[in-house]
């Protein structure tokens, strides 16, 4: 850390040189009516000097170094203007005309745009594109990315982002590593105890999202706690008319209202700022035929933004933004008449997000901008399920967490009993799972933009503190007397996970000749995680990241040349993902064994004895944080107006989080039914006692007529599973190519053609030695199973897989500015869809063999089980036992046992994993398939616009062929079913 600070200080000193500075003043007007555009943001990109236009559209920016600069002017509702400006003197009158952003403009696009100024893959989707796809869930934008596949909208299933990765079956927790931010507020799923998956986007209102940025490449070091990919959702900020949006499709209804209020000026003519409010109601039905099980989203958000430029802030403006957003809603099946009366299942998905942000243009020689960001997110994910229960006999619910033998007790006789006996009959109970994740983040960041000669240098130094905790109670029941088995696990008692990060980045822009430049970005992020009160203590990591972009040719002067733009870019970086609570604090396992099952009495009374053995949370001192190594190269060029962007990437996820199993030997006392036969006390007169520590049973005569009898029982030897946080020692490799080709507009028909697509490759083979034992199974001798298999990559027939896909889309967009209408036809094609199961051992170990038939356990002699169609058997590399925990080579002993010890052979056979399909390891190519989606958006003057889409509107219901199964199946498993939706937007 000290070294970092020293480097930063050195760089600052180097840059503390003085150069000639100029001021730049101007007016921003609406091109249409020449009215001033207030609240427009004016930015000189390289020197990071900025200002906000006043009510007259006027602005002044000082401290601009001489030379080339890029002027960027943006304002809500207008097309962002970006232009090169060469500053040689003070500029007092500079008039800028901004175009209103609507479909009268020829430049309107409904696809993702490449951020051409970025040195890594960074795409932006603006409101026009979002309106055109009728965004309901934020993750719906995935279809707009190169090779993106359109999904029909739904909020009743969990929606997540998953950039440059395949489905949930892939290793590496890809969605968990995809960061999602709303107005800079990081939505964290770290405090979840339900797994290592990414944050759900269902409860993010989409009606006020102005733009979505997707950073698929190597991000800046200011972004931490990330794997691969960042999605930034930016809401509307600025003055807007009243806007009402109504959306309908077969399963979803949405209504929203928003308005950006200009709050006027103070007496001193200072702006009071802008207040944006948005209210949205969305309901999504699981099944349109039974619109009762639904997901609701009721969200209100408000944000205030202002730039203080007067008085103390004269010349050193401070831009301030504060926002708050509250959501009520979630899944609810309460009203479903198909369910049993009185039963329901509800899951809250409430959230409260708040943020403040201040950017202060200090313009000092040692600092240009100082930024502060603070945000918090609190979620209430309480789920309640009220069920009706019934039982023909007495049933037992286990709640005890203490080790020992317990007889099930009536709740009335002992409400705190470890095992509660619920009498036969009918009852209702409401089970709750209370998760209340909370996270906050504070960021302080200083920028220094300096120009040394022609070289622009921007240094960023920042520090960030973020923390995750959970205030939920975990699982509980509203009435423990009738609750089913559960153990309390209070999430609120788990320590917060705190993380301190310091980051430093230098962004250098070096002009090369008249038309080119080199942009070099180097950054380093240091992260330290503190978990107070936990054995994990402090964990530190360093994440270096580099981006380089060489712009060979670009500029206005090349607009008539053949090659109008050419740029190459390359990136490499590392990112560290903090763990989730499901990894840090996995719920303890409880082994609950019924050790006494005496006969049911004639009045229905049942008695059960249990042995409870808890296995506590296992601390893994070797646990490290999951990391992602990302590399990317790309080229962007413009040939005769055809814009081509190609990026190749390679991502490697190492040490991904997972939960592994270990097995311990233990013994318990078991009382068989036959042992009770000798008891002379009539069944109906019996009660039973069990010794808490020995498990010895005493039968007592309730009538007192006969003396008590003691039943000793027998000793059972068994294994118990415990889980612990672990890292996957085998890396996950992904690489691919993404391309976007935008052809020049075909003017006679006002049509743009875009080809986009991706090639994606995934491979992961788990080579860790993982233990598994079928502990619920019996051995041949009728006692609990006592062997543990140690498998390379676990006890699945395959310990890895490879995937390769090629998706290609062609989009025809016809835009008729005069008609204010835009139509698009997107044909999505899966040209290649390949997958294959893999089974690979360590250092030539034979993990899987071909077997001659489905009843065999030993090899057929066929060496190639992958390509030849054969049944297979997969063996553990080692095995251990109840008696001897030292792993022994499995195969040798297994073969020997076949003749010398049939009982051992039959018992060990339970550890052999067999396939029963001869094609399990065959290459699986799915034949190409296609789907066509149609969308249209039409503006009706300034007042309204209407959008309609039809997915799979050719109603492709064909079949695809699998080379693995050699069978055809319906293409509906791969493409969205025919679906349509309509949105009307009103402005007034």
């Amino acid at each position: 850390m000290r070294r970092l600070i020293a480097i930063a200080a050195g760089l600052l000193i180097c840059l503390l040189s003085f150069a000639q500075k100029y001021s730049f003043s101007g007016t921003i007007l609406n091109r249409k009516d020449k009215s001033p555009v207030d609240f427009a943001t004016v930015l000189f990109v390289e020197c990071e000097q900025w200002a906000t236009a006043d009510a007259n559209g006027r602005f002044t920016i000082g401290n601009i170094p001489a030379g080339k600069n890029t002027l960027e002017i943006s304002c809500l509702g207008y097309v962002t203007l970006r232009m090169p400006v060469t500053i040689t003197k003070n500029v007092d009158v500079f008039t800028v005309m901004l175009d209103e952003d609507n479909l009268t403009l020829a430049s309107a696009v409904v696809t993702a745009k490449e951020n051409e100024s970025s040195a890594t893959t960074h795409r932006v989707m603006d409101r026009t594109a979002l309106d055109h796809v009728q965004l309901v869930s934020a993750s719906d934008i995935s279809g707009l990315l190169p090779g993106g596949v359109t999904q029909n909208p739904s909020l009743t299933s969990t929606q997540r982002f998953n950039l440059r990765a395949g489905g949930v079956t892939e290793s590496g927790n890809a969605s968990f590593g995809t960061a999602v931010e709303v107005d800079g507020v990081r939505l964290s799923n770290n405090a979840s105890l339900s797994g290592t998956s990414g944050v759900a986007t269902n409860n993010i209102a989409t009606s006020n999202i102005e733009s979505v940025e997707v950073i698929s490449g190597v991000p800046s070091v200011e972004y931490g706690d990330v794997g691969a990919g960042i999605v930034k959702l930016n809401t509307r900020k600025g003055v807007t008319p009243y806007m009402v949006t109504l959306t309908t499709n077969p399963n979803i209804k949405q209504a929203s209202f928003s308005k950006g209020f200009g709050l006027g000026d103070t007496k001193r003519k200072a702006s009071k700022g802008v207040l944006n409010v948005n209210a949205e109601y969305t309901t999504s039905y699981k099944d349109q035929r039974s619109p009762y099980t639904s997901y609701d989203r009721k969200q209100i958000s408000a944000s205030y933004s202002n730039t203080f430029m007067r008085g103390f802030f004269e010349g050193i403006p401070l831009r301030f933004t504060a926002g708050v957003s509250g959501n009520l809603g979630g899944m609810d099946s309460k009203a479903d008449p198909d369910k049993l009366t009185g039963t329901y299942s509800k899951q809250r998905n409430n959230s409260l997000r708040g943020n403040i942000e201040a950017s202060w243009l200090l313009s000092k020689p040692w600092i240009t901008n100082l930024e502060f960001k603070g945000s918090l997110v609190y979620s209430d994910n309480l789920s309640k399920t009220k069920d009706q229960y019934s039982s023909a006999g007495g049933t037992v619910a286990l709640h005890g967490k203490e080790e020992g033998y317990f007889m099930a007790q009536d709740y009335g006789s002992d409400p705190d009993a470890a095992a509660i006996l619920i009498p036969r009959g009918y009852w209702y109970n409401t089970m709750c799972l209370d998760g209340k994740p909370f996270s906050y983040k504070l960021t302080l960041k200083g920028n220094l933009a300096k120009k040394i000669g022609h070289v622009s240098n921007r240094i960023m130094l920042g520090a960030e503190w973020n923390a995750d905790g959970n205030f939920g109670k975990g699982e509980y029941s509203e009435d423990i007397s009738t609750a089913p088995t559960y153990r309390t696990y209070d999430y609120s008692e788990l320590p917060f996970m705190n993380n301190l990060s310091v980051f430093l980045q230098d962004n250098v822009m070096i002009p090369t000749g008249k038309q080119g430049s080199v942009n070099l970005i180097a950054g380093l992020r240091s992260e330290s995680t503190f978990i107070k009160g936990s054995e994990y203590g402090t964990t530190s990591s360093l994440s270096p990241r580099f981006n380089a972009k060489y712009t060979v040719l670009e500029g206005f002067r090349r607009r008539n040349k053949t090659l109008r733009n050419l740029a190459f870019r390359a990136s490499w970086g590392m990112a560290v993902k903090q763990p989730s609570f499901a990894i840090l604090y996995p719920q303890p396992d409880y082994s609950s064994i019924r050790v006494l099952n005496p006969p049911t009495a004639s009045d229905g009374s049942a008695y059960y004895g249990y042995y409870i053995k808890p296995s506590q949370i296992e601390y893994n001192p070797g646990l490290t944080w999951q990391r992602n190594y990302q590399s990317e190269v790309g080229v962007d060029l413009d040939i005769l107006g055809t814009k081509i962007s190609v990026a190749g990437y390679w991502n490697r996820t190492a040490k991904s989080f997972r939960v592994s199993n270990a097995y311990d030997s233990f013994a318990y006392n078991y009382t068989d039914q036959s042992m009770l036969e000798s008891c002379g006390i009539p069944v109906d007169n019996r009660t039973y006692l069990i010794d808490k520590s020995t498990g010895i049973v005493t039968v007592v005569d309730k009538t007192g007529a006969l003396p008590s009898e003691t039943i000793t029982g027998i000793t059972r030897e068994s294994l118990i599973k415990r889980t612990y946080a672990d890292n996957d020692g085998s890396p996950v490799n992904r690489y691919g190519i993404e391309w976007v080709i935008d052809f020049p507009r075909i003017n006679p028909v006002n049509t743009d053609v875009r080809l986009d697509g991706n090639f994606y490759s995934y491979k992961s083979v788990d080579r860790d030695l993982l233990a598994y034992s079928p502990t619920s199974q019996q051995q041949v001798d009728g006692t609990p199973y006592k062997y543990v298999g140690w498998y390379t990559g676990g006890n699945k027939f395959a310990n890895g897989s490879e995937i390769k896909t090629v998706n290609a889309n062609v989009t025809f967009t016809t835009h008729i500015p005069k008609a204010r209408m835009i139509l698009s036809l997107k044909v999505e094609g899966a040209l290649m869809k390949y997958s294959r199961n893999l089974s690979e051992g360590i250092d030539g170990e034979i993990r899987t063999v071909a077997i001659p038939d489905r009843t065999s356990y030993l090899p057929s002699g066929e060496t190639d089980f992958m390509d030849n169609s054969s049944y297979t058997a997969t063996y553990p590399l080692y095995y251990s036992s109840y008696w001897d925990p030292t792993p022994r080579p499995f195969y040798e002993d297994y073969v020997k046992a076949k003749t010398s010890n049939p009982q051992l052979f039959n018992d060990l056979s339970a550890l052999v994993v067999k396939t029963s399909y001869v094609y399990s390891f065959r290459k699986n190519y799915i034949s190409p398939y296609f789907s066509a989606n149609f969308s249209v958006t039409k503006e009706i003057g300034e007042l309204a616009s209407i959008s309609f889409y039809a997915n799979n509107f050719f109603r492709n219901m064909g079949q695809v062929y699998s080379t693995m199964t050699k069978q055809h199946s319906s293409v509906s498993n791969y493409i969205p079913k025919f679906y349509y939706g309509l949105t009307i937007r009103l402005k007034f």
Partner: protein
């Protein structure tokens, strides 16, 4: 009256004529019937019936050293014999026993092991019922009734019970290829099989039954009035260290001794035996040369019907199968496929679950009525079937078996190895009083 008088006179005259012919007696011949099994004289004592084809007069003689001896007049006879041995039925019929006054009169009677069984599945209750409010389905009650369809005691000690994969008639299975079953000489018994405890003698008297609770061996009617009281079951499938799901396996009623608990071995996965409550293919088998326990605990007898242990099946030789019943889901008849081989069950019985219905065997009307001891005891006009509901069925014999049994009758159930003919869907479980 006159007419009656003339008939009486004629009859008297014929009688006098016969009496007058006493001096010209019919020759009585010694006839030997050699009872053969696999061309060898049978060692067991068998009753052989020799029935005159002209007079229908029957004679019965027991074998001695495999031969039964009769003294009859010349004529054409039919020799028949039935042997119940080791739970199998051997039948022999020789319809060409032609006795002559001058011949050797020695005949063979070949005994063929019958594909029908002495012990049959009389009833399978598995579909569950609705709870008292009619809101939820309760299916943790199931039983099978084994019935001795013969006049001699049967020994079922070595019997075992299995369910053939897949669980439901309309479930896809890779045991089917091109519309045909891929197995011909075995049945893939899924997940686990049950057997009677070693040392427990399971005897079923003639024309009697045993009830085996397969789930819920308690009085289920206390909570679910539509269910059945299995607290009085004769046996119970209960092995709580193997199948731990207490809802399906509550501790059995104290009236069932622990020696009457059946044992099992799980070679598949799960906490309960996955007996379908919709459309099982259920079999009873009797292992030869081994025990069910030893058979399923030998890994090489188990095959995996899909990827993973959840699909593990024991390959039970079809020759071991004593009886089976194939049930098709009434709501998925068009998608249902056979799981039992034709030699076990050539048909199927349609079934609707959740309503308390049961699969019940039809009565072999001719055979039952032929039993002399049933005279006056059979109850007709059976109304327990479900012919009045969609995809329902009833017993075409019209005999109310349960009422007849209560009346003291001996019922012989139909056993043609074809469930379509042999079973019907009964409205209420027979043990439900």
């Amino acid at each position: 009256m006159k007419k009656f008088f003339y008939i009486l006179m004629a009859a008297a005259a014929m009688t006098l004529y016969a009496c007058n012919s006493d001096g010209d007696k019919t020759k009585i011949n010694t006839v030997t019937i050699n009872v053969l099994v696999d061309n060898e004289k049978i060692s067991d004592v068998v009753d052989v019936t020799l029935k005159s084809k002209s007079t229908s007069t029957s004679y019965v003689a027991s074998t001695t050293a495999g031969t039964a001896t009769f003294n009859v007049a010349a004529g054409i006879y039919e020799a028949t014999a039935t042997l119940y041995k080791e739970s199998a039925i051997y039948n022999g019929t020789n319809s060409s026993v032609t006795v002559t006054d001058d011949g050797t009169n020695s005949f063979n009677l070949d005994m063929i092991k019958s594909t029908t069984s002495q012990v049959i599945i009389k009833e399978l209750y598995f579909g569950g019922c609705m709870d008292n409010a009619g809101a939820k389905h309760f299916a943790n009650d199931a039983y099978v009734t084994l019935y001795n369809n013969s006049p001699v005691e049967a020994d079922a000690s070595n019997y075992a019970f299995g369910i053939v994969y897949p669980a439901n008639s309309n479930t896809n299975s890779n045991y089917r290829k091109d519309g045909e079953l891929t197995y011909t000489d075995y049945l893939p018994c899924w997940n686990a099989v049950w057997w009677f405890q070693s040392g427990t003698q399971v005897k079923i008297p003639a024309y009697s039954q045993i009830v085996i609770a397969m789930k819920g061996a308690i009085d289920n009617t206390a909570t679910y009035s539509n269910s059945v009281d299995l607290s009085n079951a004769d046996y119970a499938m209960y092995d709580p260290e193997v199948f731990t799901l207490a809802a399906a396996y509550p501790a059995p009623s104290g009236k069932i001794p622990s020696s009457h608990y059946l044992k099992t071995y799980l070679y598949g996965l799960g906490t309960a035996w996955p007996l379908s409550n919709i459309s099982p293919a259920f079999v009873v088998f009797s292992p030869e040369g081994t025990t069910a326990e030893a058979f399923v605990k030998t890994a090489s007898n188990i095959e995996i019907a899909g990827n993973g242990k959840a699909f593990a099946c024991a390959k039970v030789p079809v020759s071991w199968v004593m009886d089976g019943v194939e049930v098709y889901s009434a709501t998925a008849l068009d998608k249902s496929n056979k799981r039992l081989l034709g030699s076990v069950d050539a048909g199927y019985v349609k079934f609707t679950n959740k309503l308390g219905y049961t699969v019940y065997r039809n009565v072999d009307k001719d055979a039952t009525e032929a039993l002399q001891e049933n005279s006056g005891k059979l109850v007709y006009n059976y109304a327990g079937g479900t012919a009045d509901v969609e995809n329902g069925s009833t017993d075409p014999s019209g005999i109310d078996a349960e009422a007849s049994i209560a009346n003291g009758a001996h019922i012989i159930y139909k056993d043609t190895n074809n469930s379509t003919n042999d079973f019907h869907q009964r409205k209420v479980a027979s043990i439900k009083k």
